[in-house]
């Protein structure tokens, strides 16, 4: 293996173990999958713009809504968050890289190949079609004989492996690689929320891994874990899925909470209000998040005791969530608010998340939920928290950290245009869905009859979706237009509070030439204040000033082995292919383990 550190060329990107490059690759991949998921949404909305349309067949529609949900969650929001985990965590805690750089690369390649594998199902007209939560026993071989569900099972397992590996990596990084003086209660909020997210990943993904394995055994070998004919209970699937699925939604939102908590102070010129309350409410939400799963199952008939317990627990979780919203308002209150693009998205997040949170409280009322669940009301709720919440925040984060990552500022006017189009489009799309649901429109229906009172709401929603699409075209144009300019953004264009703003834009390979000693929260504000306010551009050093780990092929090769293994499994349990995949994985792991991470004798 070559030990030279190439900085350009495809090979350097394929073998990179640099967390910043891996972060950028996560971001680019996530954006690509997000656009695919968005296209799927547009096709859905086109089909539903009017009643009784035949633009899509029912089978096509079912594949599209399943893939839209699966893609947005696992290939959109999660890797988008992973971009920020990767790029920012070492910079915010004052480290030179993550704890395990090659494991980090492995996570990325596994995710990318898994996402491509999942989407490749379209090429054989067998995209997953049983909904993103794949309820048994619709997913049994009897009722889903095609490869669709097998692709879904395999895809999620591959993505789960990627997420688990990353979760171990970031947990160790945040706990173990903090700069001197960075006690836990001085860690920036994004990194704190990320830590909690990793713990949720570690504890929730194994549950769905087991559920997927059991489903796979049912489909491929004829067991009856979820098959009623053999004594199995389809409701067991729901329990296992939602024990994973509910923490998953906190996995989706906590990083977004963290991003908002970074943006608001900078653009209000005052610290986050109630830092300690914010940390503890985040922990409390995560903990409670494991106790509410059956609020997705109020219509199952679990009995009044279960319904009562889960109703009350769900209401309880509204309290720490409210605390966060109030602390964010407390942050901007009394500040000097600069309405630049990142701030617009962060404020938009708060406004939209309040609505999503309130419809969530409505869902917590079990008897009322019996009307709302499985209708467009819940579709409205989760889009308000996932799009109005997570996406608004992630996009805000993109505008905020863009200069740091790429050395270029995004255009402010285009940013504002993007924001307003997205804000209007989003509300136009999803607000009417509350009414559609309350007026009795079920979800996951490929069409609806005329004269049900559903026509106007659906048309509005379709117009809104097209508006959202236009807003993203504006974003893409912004990126292209500013990319043409020189990469000369300042290190600290926003007067940031945290350590990533203390190094050049983009940072050098080793991040910090000298890792600072931290004496307070908002470490960079503190350092600047101690220096009298004005610090010039940070000094650049020779690229090889600090020894960094070697690039490596083995993480990617191990990922390829995993894909081969699952391809063998999906395509009719093809034993030679499965064994080949396992072999490549073992080879990859052994070579990786025995490969020195650093060059000899520096």
């Amino acid at each position: 293996m070559s030990h030279t550190h190439e900085s350009t060329g495809i090979k350097s990107w394929l073998t990179t173990v640099d967390h910043k490059r891996i972060g950028i690759m996560y971001g680019a991949s996530a954006f690509l999958f997000f656009l695919i998921g968005g296209l799927e949404a547009l096709l859905i909305r086109w089909q539903l713009r009017m009643p009784d349309q035949t633009f899509l067949t029912p089978e096509m529609y079912n594949q599209l809504f399943t893939m839209h949900g699966t893609s947005m969650i696992f290939l959109g929001v999660m890797p988008f968050s992973a971009m920020f985990f990767n790029y920012l965590i070492p910079l915010q805690v004052g480290a030179r890289d993550v704890a395990f750089p090659r494991l980090n690369a492995f996570s990325f390649w596994t995710f990318l190949l898994g996402g491509l594998f999942l989407n490749a199902s379209f090429l054989v007209n067998a995209a997953p079609n049983a909904g993103w939560f794949g309820y048994a026993n619709l997913t049994s071989k009897q009722f889903s004989p095609g490869l669709n569900t097998d692709f879904w099972v395999a895809g999620l397992q591959i993505l789960g492996i990627a997420s688990l590996a990353a979760a171990v990596n970031f947990t160790v990084t945040i706990l173990n690689m903090r700069a001197t003086g960075m006690k836990m209660l001085r860690v920036p909020m994004f990194s704190w929320m990320s830590l909690i997210t990793q713990v949720l990943l570690l504890l929730s993904f194994p549950v769905i891994t087991v559920a997927l394995v059991m489903l796979m055994f049912d489909r491929m070998f004829g067991t009856s874990f979820f098959n009623p004919a053999g004594g199995g209970d389809p409701v067991l699937w729901q329990h296992l899925f939602w024990v994973f699925g509910h923490p998953e939604v906190y996995i989706l939102i906590l990083p977004a909470f963290g991003i908002v908590s970074e943006i608001l102070p900078v653009f209000s010129r005052k610290p986050l209000f109630g830092y300690t309350a914010m940390v503890f409410s985040g922990c409390f939400i995560a903990f409670l998040g494991f106790g509410v799963w059956s609020h997705h199952m109020f219509a199952v008939g679990m009995g009044p005791v279960a319904d009562t317990v889960f109703s009350l627990m769900t209401m309880l979780i509204a309290i720490p969530t409210g605390v966060k919203i109030f602390n964010w308002i407390g942050t901007i209150w009394g500040g000097s608010i600069s309405l630049k693009s990142p701030m617009l998205f962060a404020l938009g997040f708060i406004a939209m998340f309040i609505i999503g949170g309130l419809s969530g409280v409505m869902h917590s009322v079990a008897p009322a939920d019996l009307q709302q669940t499985d209708s467009y009301f819940v579709v409205a709720h989760f889009h308000y928290v996932l799009f109005g919440g997570a996406i608004f925040s992630l996009v805000g984060g993109a505008y905020f950290w863009w200069p740091k990552m790429f050395g270029r500022m995004l255009d402010e006017t285009l940013g504002k245009l993007h924001f307003w189009l997205m804000m209007i489009g989003f509300n136009l799309t999803f607000f009417p869905m509350h009414m559609l649901g309350l007026h009795g429109m079920p979800r996951r229906v490929y069409t609806y009859a005329d004269k049900m009172g559903f026509n106007e709401g659906n048309l509005l929603a379709t117009i809104g979706a097209l508006t959202i699409a236009v807003s993203f075209l504006v974003f893409i144009w912004n990126i292209i237009k500013t990319w043409r300019g020189p990469a000369n953004a300042p290190a600290d264009p926003w007067n940031g509070a945290t350590l990533e703003w203390s190094i050049p834009s983009p940072p050098q390979h080793f991040n910090f030439a000298e890792v600072p000693t931290v004496e307070s929260r908002d470490a960079w504000w503190h350092i600047k204040r101690a220096k009298g306010g004005n610090v010039g551009e940070p000094k650049r050093y020779a690229e090889d000033a600090v020894l960094m780990p070697n690039p490596s092929w083995w993480p990617m090769i191990t990922s390829i082995g995993i894909i081969i293994f699952f391809v063998g499994l999906v395509f009719h349990v093809n034993l030679p292919v499965i064994l080949l995949g396992a072999g490549v994985v073992l080879l990859g792991i052994f070579k990786w383990a025995f490969e020195p991470p650093f060059s000899e004798a520096h």
């Binding site: 947990t171 706990l175 690689m177 194994p206 020195p596």
Partner: protein, 209 residues
């Protein structure tokens, strides 16, 4: 796994990154096995047909009686072997940490042998169930949940044996030393975890009726 210790800066918790990583991984694996064990418990007594773990079952269609499948003495012995292996790996680690290479290699070999014995016991048990007791993977809920749970555990044992055997091989070839003791310590932590999981599985599956 050759690292220069100088390239390891001090850590915030004082624990090596890799040790913290294995503990984190073990935390995740606890949920993995908790789910498998919960599934077994939920389906206990729910099988539509036999054979059953602790009691005989008569097929209402044919009148044929199938005896219970578990052989507690055999599994108890295997459990004891696995428990002893955890003790042996501690002795091996102690040897490596204090530079007593013969002690290290000897006790690590004993650990690997115990692990292999446990796997052998399970392979024997599984084939016995399938051929003589008429309990297959798809026979009933008991078969499915039992083989899935113990099969995954056995896979974890196998991977652990592979890991330890690799370290043993390196030890025999003279490539291990006290400065590399962390490598064995991490493998040993994993091994202890696999053992602890069995300590839960054994009473829940085999002893409780």
């Amino acid at each position: 796994m050759a690292h220069d210790a100088a390239l390891h800066p001090p850590t915030s918790t004082g624990l090596d990154n890799r040790k913290l990583a294995i503990w984190t991984f073990i935390g995740s694996e606890c949920m993995f096995f908790a789910t498998l064990i919960s599934t077994y418990v939920v389906y206990k007594g729910q099988s539509l047909r036999g054979p059953l773990p602790h009691e005989a079952w008569t097929d209402p269609a044919t009148g044929q009686t199938l005896e219970h499948v578990f052989s507690i003495p055999l599994v108890t012995f295997g459990t004891a072997v696995l428990l002893f292996s955890s003790f042996f790996v501690v002795l091996a680690l102690n040897g490596l940490q204090t530079g007593k290479m013969k002690q290290f290699v000897g006790w690590l070999a004993a650990t690997v042998v115990c692990g292999l014995f446990f796997i052998g016991m399970q392979v024997f048990e599984f084939t016995h169930f399938v051929h003589e007791k008429h309990l297959g993977f798809t026979t009933n809920l008991f078969g499915s949940s039992f083989f899935t749970l113990t099969g995954f555990h056995g896979t974890h044992v196998t991977l652990g044996v592979l890991w330890l055997a690799t370290l043993l091989y390196l030890g025999i070839r003279g490539k291990m030393g006290p400065e590399k003791a962390l490598n064995l310590e991490i493998a040993a932590l994993y091994w202890h975890f696999v053992d602890v999981v069995w300590i839960v599985i054994f009473p829940v599956v085999y002893l409780m009726k």
